[in-house]
């Protein structure tokens, strides 16, 4: 099938669908009409799109944890705890890493071993193996909207199963669930596969069922400059809209400098709305998600609470529609349900204290918003140009040419030349832009900020700054300074 940014025909879709539903026995349980009937009975307060829309109207920020274990009953226990004790506003089901690689046989091993061991040996919920039956059991046991969160390059079968189970939101995208999550899967394939996932949501929309889609904002979660993640978010938003998706949540991962973080969210909303309008998608319900710090965490739980709370405060001051919550166990791996609830409680307390408070517009904030929008426009203009106007084709070519380049990504289809580093105020700037098509002014501006830091630290602007910055938050600071600074 030829890659194009164009809504799939029914013929195309249903032909591929036959193959998808045969990938694992649970695929055969799915009946589109029965699923639609089931989804139509989902009450308003359990619909992801409606809850986000309401939060946006009220100007509040919702809190959503990450969570998933191998077995259905244990997963229900976990989610119920986060709902009742943690006070989560939205629930996730984090999918395990074998499912993400479509290794369903290994999932079976993990499920069996987890039953035997009495603890989860999988790092998430194997939704495909549990099928519609298991996924509906989870959905019916909780009282909040449910979303699949994963990192699956080919999530077509998973998508079919979760939506048919009443889960009204799906995270991911052809770029954001490939470049940071795969080593050798081509972008052509993942963009096509995510067009399929978007089309599933679009078909439900056409049946009057509201489904939310959320491209994964933070990418590698490591010093990603806002213009990079905003560019990817806008591209994936446009690709989803073309397939008929109407309710879209664009995401961003906290960098740590308040002004940059608030500017990133504001620039993302303003610019995405401009692009949706420019390309004729006039009825998109756009919301935002802010991810608390995605990099290395301090091992000490009190310090972790400091990181979590500061992320929550930034999300509130930025006016994000929801925030993805970290836990005090972040440094040591997957948290207990108690630790997970603790993260939610610290987050919600902070959000509630800050309800209605926004970072006011200032000269500095205005300049940062303008910078991010200008950078993003440089990238997106070039993506459209190399695709001869086709965004899907342009995206593939842009990665080939390093026009889009995501720091620290494992994919061999990513140039991996870009190097980010923090400036003296902790904002993420670009040390080496590789082939990202910035204007000379923008490049000079980044360079001058990093040289200012270099002078302050008495060292050259070089790779060691990047390494130091990666470890900094885990060591308790934002900027990785040399020891004597």
């Amino acid at each position: 099938m030829e890659l194009k940014n164009k809504k799939w025909s029914d013929e195309q879709f249903y032909k591929v669908r036959e193959e998808v539903l045969n990938q694992w026995p649970t695929g055969k349980e799915i009946d589109f009409q029965e699923a639609a009937d089931y989804l139509k009975k989902v009450p308003e307060h359990k619909n992801f799109s409606l809850k986000l829309k309401k939060a946006k109207e009220e100007g509040i920020t919702l809190a959503q944890p990450r969570a998933g274990v191998a077995l259905v009953d244990a997963h229900i226990e976990l989610l119920t705890y986060l709902q009742d004790e943690g006070g989560a506003d939205l629930l996730p089901s984090t999918i395990d890493s074998y499912t993400r690689q479509n290794r369903y046989n290994e999932c079976e091993v993990g499920i069996k071993e987890s039953e035997k061991a009495g603890r989860s040996l999988l790092n998430g919920f194997p939704g495909v193996n549990h099928g519609v039956k298991g996924c509906r059991k989870v959905f019916e046991a909780v009282n909040l909207p449910l979303q699949a969160r994963h990192g699956t390059p080919d999530a077509r079968l998973l998508t079919e199963i979760i939506h048919a189970s009443g889960w009204t939101s799906n995270e991911g995208g052809g770029i954001s669930y490939n470049i940071p999550y795969a080593k050798s899967v081509s972008l052509e394939k993942t963009i096509l596969d995510w067009q399929y996932c978007d089309r599933v949501a679009g078909i439900y929309e056409e049946m009057g069922i509201k489904i939310n889609r959320e491209p994964f904002g933070p990418l590698t979660g490591t010093l990603v400059p806002p213009c990079i993640s905003n560019s990817v978010a806008i591209i994936e938003g446009l690709l989803a809209a073309e397939q008929g998706v109407k309710n879209i949540t664009l995401g961003y991962g906290q960098c740590g400098n308040l002004i940059q973080d608030v500017a990133a969210i504001r620039a993302l909303v303003e610019q995405a709305e401009e692009y949706f309008k420019a390309y004729g998608y006039n009825d998109i319900e756009l919301t935002t998600v802010f991810h608390q710090w995605m990099g290395g965490f301090p091992a000490d739980e009190s310090k972790a609470f400091g990181v979590i709370s500061w992320g929550s405060a930034t999300a509130a001051l930025a006016g994000a529609t929801k925030v993805i919550v970290k836990t005090p166990h972040e440094a040591v791996g997957i948290p207990t349900k108690e630790a997970n609830a603790m993260g939610i409680k610290a987050t919600k307390q902070t959000l509630n204290l800050l309800r209605g408070q926004r970072l006011p517009m200032s000269k500095e904030l205005e300049a940062e918003i303008a910078l991010i929008k200008a950078e993003t426009k440089c990238i997106l203009d070039k993506v459209f140009e190399v695709g001869n106007g086709d965004l899907a084709v342009g995206t593939v070519k842009a990665f080939e040419q390093g026009i889009l380049d995501i720091p620290f990504a494992p994919s061999k289809f990513n140039a991996g030349v870009i190097l980010p580093a923090r400036d003296n105020n902790g904002a993420v700037r670009i040390l080496n832009a590789g082939n990202i098509p910035f204007t000379k002014d923008i490049l000079d501006f980044h360079r001058s900020l990093l040289e200012e830091r270099g002078r302050y630290e008495g060292r050259d602007v070089a790779f060691q700054m990047v390494v130091d910055d990666i470890f900094a938050v885990g060591k308790g600071v934002l900027v990785g300074r040399p020891e004597n600074k």
């Binding site: 074998y98 993400r100 091993v109 993990g110 603890r119 999988l122 091992a299 791996g333 494992p410």
Partner: protein
């Protein structure tokens, strides 16, 4: 002559940042590093070790499935003629917050020479490598 290491992230794990940093640190420390990157199978590690005639295999696992993914690696190394090769594992090796001494014992019982908890500095591993390789 430089000691040779095979470095990679095992299983369905795609955490690339630490892998890039480790590659940088081990190379700086004077090792010759074959980095097979993320999403590597046991076979990928073994093949790379045979091809490069490696002295040690350093397995990272950041996503909690390390326990399943690493099982049997020592036996497969033995079968492949890599008897006695150093096997290290480190990262977030298991799901959830568990007592480190229990986790370490599980990995040593599986035939690993050393296992490292989350947050270990690359320098610790470098020092151990130098000791185990008789520098």
């Amino acid at each position: 002559m430089k000691n040779k290491l095979v470095l990679g992230v095992i299983g369905a794990d795609c955490h690339a940042v630490g892998n890039k940093i480790l590659y940088h640190a081990f190379t700086e420390a004077g090792f010759q590093v074959e980095n097979i990157g993320v999403l590597s199978s046991q076979e990928d590690f073994i093949n790379a070790a045979i091809e490069t005639n490696a002295d040690a295999i350093i397995v990272s696992s950041l996503y909690g499935h390390g326990e399943i993914d690493c099982r049997g690696l020592r036996e497969k190394c033995d079968e492949a003629g890599l008897k006695g090769i150093l096997l290290y594992a480190g990262g977030n090796l298991v799901v959830g917050k568990q007592e480190w001494s229990d986790v370490e014992k599980r990995f040593l019982d599986m035939g690993f020479n050393r296992a490292y908890p989350p947050g270990t500095s690359p320098q610790t591993t470098i020092n151990d490598l130098k000791k185990d390789l008789g520098w």
